[in-house]
């Protein structure tokens, strides 16, 4: 991060680097602030700290400053629950927490971000970042399918994923992910590498993203499919005319075919990429052909030996390109996130993503942890959800497991009808859903369908799996 910031500031110090609801900063200003943060960290002897901060400009200053000082930051969602935060801070042994919140208490020192900026940067730090020195970063998983874990990364390794990115200063990227998420970090890196402008509203809900599209000159967006569904539904309900986009990147979840089509129709001039990445494995591969899933010929084979992706027993396995060093508390050489190793040379890791080869595509069927066991039949929620969301009357849907004393679980669905629950003909939608899933095995068909005005998400992702 600091190396990219140094390059961008050297090339165009006055270019707008980040726009937030609190103002904007140029690359030159950000670099200077990062150096002053690094100076303060060194002077106070801080080698690791937690960050609970909503403003992306502050996040950039703190992350880049930490990289320059060789300190390890660990970000949290800005509105994280105080009790939950105290538990995690204790588990990860955070001694310092940089935040403007006053309600966070625990065995740590609270530091306001502005007090972590020295009046002047040390001359030694103006000479540039030392690439021989570790530039650690801790990234917590979103915990969509369990308790969040903390993965240890190094900016120098993460930076390899943007080594081929060329300056595109006219681009304005929306920050739709939280910068505490791995995908958010990827956006920060990409924007800095392309010397573009980051447009970072807060809150980062789809409606805020839509506002930014309509008023902030956004040209590129990286977001989850769930975020896109919400944003497009919001745009429809507002009857908003969406501006053309140059680049759309989807990640964090499987992208259903109907959503890809809707995005292509709505933004006909945009290049659409789907990225496969995870907090643990890093950025693995991307798809640019506009179709759901991966191409079968992109999988590892003797004729495609450089591929980082293969399928074993219906599960996607990867070789980490710019993956983590390990989980917090583990030896850097151990990567238990990766799951059991089932290959001869030990470099392939299981991802927990279940896939099926259909024709020339590798189609995602959901996370292993999302599988619903209905009376012994394993049900993947994604294909069910895809059929429901492809209905014209459905704006959003979430398919999950609901406990049942009779069958262990039943498939349940929450539906956000187009136009809202009050205006919807719910019985007609029930019938349409029934018809849409009629050819699926009976255990896969939703037995509980409820109509809601909003679907809860976590880290921009739809929560599937079993309900408590």
């Amino acid at each position: 991060m600091i190396l990219l910031l140094e390059a961008a500031a050297a090339s165009s110090p006055d270019r707008e680097a980040v726009v937030t609801s609190q103002g904007s900063s140029t690359y030159g200003e950000l670099l200077e602030d990062a150096r002053r943060v690094a100076t303060a960290l060194r002077r106070r002897g801080i080698t690791s700290f937690a960050v609970v901060e909503p403003d992306a400009a502050w996040v950039l200053r703190l992350l880049a400053g930490a990289a320059l000082a060789g300190a390890e930051p660990c970000q949290y969602q800005p509105d994280t629950d105080a009790t939950e935060f105290a538990d995690h801070a204790s588990m990860l042994d955070h001694k310092f927490v940089v935040t403007r919140r006053d309600d966070l208490t625990g065995s740590f020192e609270l530091i306001r971000p502005e007090s972590l900026v020295a009046e002047e940067a040390d001359d030694a730090l103006r000479a540039g970042a030392n690439t021989e020195q570790p530039q650690p970063l801790m990234i917590r998983t979103t915990g969509t399918t369990g308790l969040p874990k903390a993965a240890r990364h190094d900016w120098r390794i993460l930076g390899k994923t943007v080594a081929n990115v060329r300056p595109m200063p006219e681009q304005r990227w929306l920050l739709a992910y939280g910068p505490q998420q791995f995908a958010g970090v990827q956006v920060l890196l990409h924007v800095a590498a392309s010397q573009a402008t980051l447009v970072a509203p807060f809150p980062r809900q789809p409606k805020d993203g839509l506002d930014a599209l309509l008023t902030k000159g956004v040209t590129c967006v990286s977001a989850t499919p769930t975020f896109w569904r919400f944003l497009l539904a919001e745009a429809k309900s507002r009857k908003a005319t969406l501006p053309p986009l140059e680049q759309i990147t989807l990640g964090g979840e499987s992208s259903p075919g109907d959503l890809l089509e809707e995005i292509q129709t709505t933004f006909p001039t945009a290049k659409v990429s789907q990225v496969y990445a995870s907090t643990e494995f890093g950025s693995i591969t991307s798809v640019r052909d506009g179709k759901p899933g991966l191409a079968v010929d992109s999988l590892w084979s003797e004729s495609n030996p450089t591929s980082n992706v293969r399928v074993t027993d219906g599960e996607l396995c990867v070789r980490a390109g710019a993956g983590m060093l390990g989980y917090a508390g583990e030896s850097p050489t151990v990567s238990s996130a990766a799951g059991p190793d089932d290959t001869e040379n030990g470099e392939w890791r299981r991802t927990g993503d279940l896939v099926e080869i259909v024709g020339d595509r590798v189609m995602f069927r959901g996370r292993q942890s999302e599988v619903i066991n209905v009376g012994g039949v394993k049900v993947h929620p994604l294909p069910v959800e895809d059929r429901i969301t492809s209905l014209d009357s459905v704006a959003l849907a979430r398919v999950f497991g609901r406990p049942s004393k009779l069958t262990g679980a039943i498939v349940a669905a929450e539906i956000v009808p187009v136009g809202g629950v009050e205006r919807a003909d719910v019985e007609s939608i029930r019938t349409q859903i029934k018809e849409a899933v009629a050819d699926l095995p009976r255990a896969w068909q939703p037995r509980s369908v409820t109509f809601v005005d909003a679907i809860e998400t976590k880290g921009g992702k739809t929560i599937r799996g079993m309900e408590d």
Binding site: V374, G375, R402, S404, K405, L406, T407, I410, A412, R430, K434, R442, A443, Q445, R447, S448, T450
Partner: protein, 82 residues
């Protein structure tokens, strides 16, 4: 008959209509299984979920013997409401 039982009767009617099984022609003595309505486990789980959504509890999940007739389901709510 109490209000909850009337509501339960409506839920059962709606459920039978949804699964296309004997929406008419059932009464309190109609058996839920076999030669009666002929519910299978998935359909029973669906009815259980609908009743739970309406009342917060249901006779299929309450423990003890499963209801055998429509009247057993209605009776559960008579007990609950007293």
């Amino acid at each position: 008959m109490g209000t909850d039982q009337e509501k339960a009767r409506t839920v059962i009617g709606d459920f039978l209509q949804r699964i296309d099984k004997g929406a008419d022609g059932w009464n309190d003595e109609t058996a839920l299984w076999g030669e009666g309505i002929g519910l299978d486990s998935l359909e029973a789980a669906e009815l259980s979920a609908m009743l739970e959504d309406e009342f917060g509890s249901d006779p299929f999940s309450a423990g003890g013997d499963l209801p055998e007739k429509v009247g057993d389901v209605l009776a559960f709510y008579a007990i609950v409401s007293t």
